[in-house]
Amino acid sequence: MKVGELLKKIFLVDLFKGLAVTFRHQHPEHVVTEQYPLERPKIAPRFRGMPRLLKNPDGSDRCTACGACVLACPEDLIKVGSVRDEKTKKKVLTTFDFDLGRCLFCGLCEEACPPECLDFTTEFEMGLYSREGTVLNRQQLEDGVQRKEFKK
């Protein structure tokens, strides 16, 4: 062993190097903690969060009840109910159930939707106290979630 290495070993240079790293990091500017919910994370626009049924700007249903999302879903958790309108011979959406409890958030239903009506929002707070609430009905999907705001 070389003298230098021996000296380094005796004077615990390796240990002090490590100690220096941790000591340096004590400076408050290194802190990366995000104080949720006072501070909200930046969510990317492509984020796949809470699903939502979009409506046309004039308030009419954008969903055509085609069932493409039902077919696309790997977990088979979307249930679409529809009736055929007598006059226009078009399907009209009646119910739309989305079971969040089994959702993989893979986004396949969103991709499959022809009128681009099913949308994954950037909302990520979906915690619930019971399993019953995980099945979202049409009303909930159309309204979206009302978020409680916190300030720092």
Binding site: G18, L19, T22, V31, V32, L38, K152
Partner: protein, 423 residues
């Protein structure tokens, strides 16, 4: 009765020496309370320092800056269900944490927080402390054995072997410090107060005497004491990634918190030994160099002023807090805390109080230096393996400390030696 009670205040000795039983009781209670508060503060301090070293914030929500987090945790632990494993030896299982806490607190009987601030002064003080603090291992072994479970057993076996091995290196390095006490007077002392007074007489802390021998001895001691208190990087008995929680695995709730209390108390205990032996105990910086009434006054104002500065910092943070409803309890808490600190600081500036308090202040400061080291080690180092731990204890620390003892002895008697040789 009252006369004798009050007359102690004018005496210049510890209550134990004065033989005043009521004051002993008061001191015991004060020490117990002080250590408990210290443990609570230490818990917060450790989490905070660790958090910042790990680029986190640490406790922030309970109380101002999370100061009340340990209190909340303590309440939670008290309310938790107290479980004992089916096959456990109930009596021993119940007794083990009490034993550990008892021994940890017992060692504080001789710790001098100041010239008069010790419960008593024993002429074998250091020996007593080493002896009592090493009794703690018994409780750990009891806990591991009584749990009737594999992890605690392994943990307690490790702990037993580890504490016994490091005791020796610790004792050897203590011997070198004790030899230094005999330098000026020719008669050494084992009394904790005597050791500090010897440092005062010799005009230097023992870390710096016979440089670098004192430093090496303190280094050995400060490594051995980490092992002795089962802290990282020597925390094998409770290595959480290997043995889940070691000897504490089966404990929960209040009994677990007793172990926790004991661990931190033991840390305080060994740190106070180190402070007393090498860092001049309660002595303020440069007691001989910067002597004189003016310096005396200046240094006695430091404790009060520093507490006031802390309080002012809290009040300053309070003014910087956003005025919203969610933050109000926290903000008010911080303000009250700051005000209380300020008041405490003011009280410490009073003439009668400040002379008595300043010893404690310097002592605590030095102890917290060691506590900071504990935390710093814990965040930085990986854990040793069992065989490596033993190797370090027996093959590195023990020879070094024996070497230091021999070297100290040789230097101490160098004149006699020279005389012997030249004659």
């Amino acid at each position: 009765m009252i006369q004798s009670f009050l007359s102690y205040l004018h005496s210049n000795v510890t209550p134990g020496e004065a033989g005043s039983l009521p004051w002993v009781v008061i001191y015991v209670l004060l020490v117990f309370l002080g250590i408990s508060v210290g443990v609570i503060f230490m818990n917060w301090f450790e989490r905070k320092v660790m958090a910042h070293m790990q680029v986190r914030l640490g406790p922030m929500r309970v109380g101002p800056m999370g100061l009340l987090q340990p209190v909340a945790d303590a309440i939670k632990l008290l309310l938790k269900e107290d479980l004992a494993p089916t096959g456990a030896d109930k009596l021993v299982f119940w007794f083990a944490p009490i034993w550990v806490v008892m021994t940890a607190f017992c060692s504080f009987i001789v710790v001098p927080f100041g010239r008069t601030h010790a419960i008593t002064d024993m002429n074998i003080g250091v020996l007593f402390m080493l002896g009592v603090s090493s009794l703690g291992v018994l409780g750990v072994i009891m806990a591991g054995w009584a749990s009737n479970s594999a992890y605690p057993l392994l943990g307690s076996l490790r702990s037993g072997a580890q504490m016994v091995s490091y005791e020796i290196a610790m004792g050897m390095s203590v011997i070198s410090a004790i030899m230094m006490t005999s330098m000026a007077t020719g008669t050494g002392t084992l009394s904790m107060i005597g050791i500090v007074q010897a440092q005062l007489q010799q005009h230097r802390w023992f870390v710096f005497s016979f440089f670098p021998l004192g430093l090496i001895a303190m280094g050995v001691f400060s490594i051995a004491m980490v092992a002795e208190t089962n802290r990282a990087p020597f925390d094998l008995p409770e290595a959480e990634s290997e043995l889940v929680a070691g000897f504490m695995t089966e404990y929960s709730g209040f009994r677990w918190s007793l172990f926790f209390l004991a661990e931190y108390t033991a840390m305080f205990g060994v740190s106070s030994i180190a402070t007393t032996l090498w860092l001049g105990g309660w002595l303020r910086p440069f007691p001989n160099l910067l002597a004189g009434p003016n310096w005396e006054l200046a240094f006695s104002l430091v404790p009060g002023l520093s507490v006031i500065v802390l309080g002012a910092l809290c009040l300053f943070r309070y003014t910087r807090m956003p005025r919203i409803r969610e933050m109000r309890p926290e903000a008010v808490g911080l303000a009250v805390f700051g005000a209380m600190l300020g008041l405490l600081g003011l009280v410490q500036l009073l003439p009668g109080v400040r002379e008595r308090v300043q010893d404690i202040f310097w002592f605590t400061l030095k102890v917290f230096f060691f506590m900071y080291l504990y935390v710093w080690y814990r965040t930085t180092f990986p854990r040793y393996r069992f065989d490596q731990l033993m190797k370090i204890g027996w093959k590195v620390l023990l020879p070094i400390s024996i070497g230091v003892v021999i070297a100290t002895a040789l230097i101490a008697v160098r004149q006699e030696l020279f005389a012997l040789v030249w004659r």
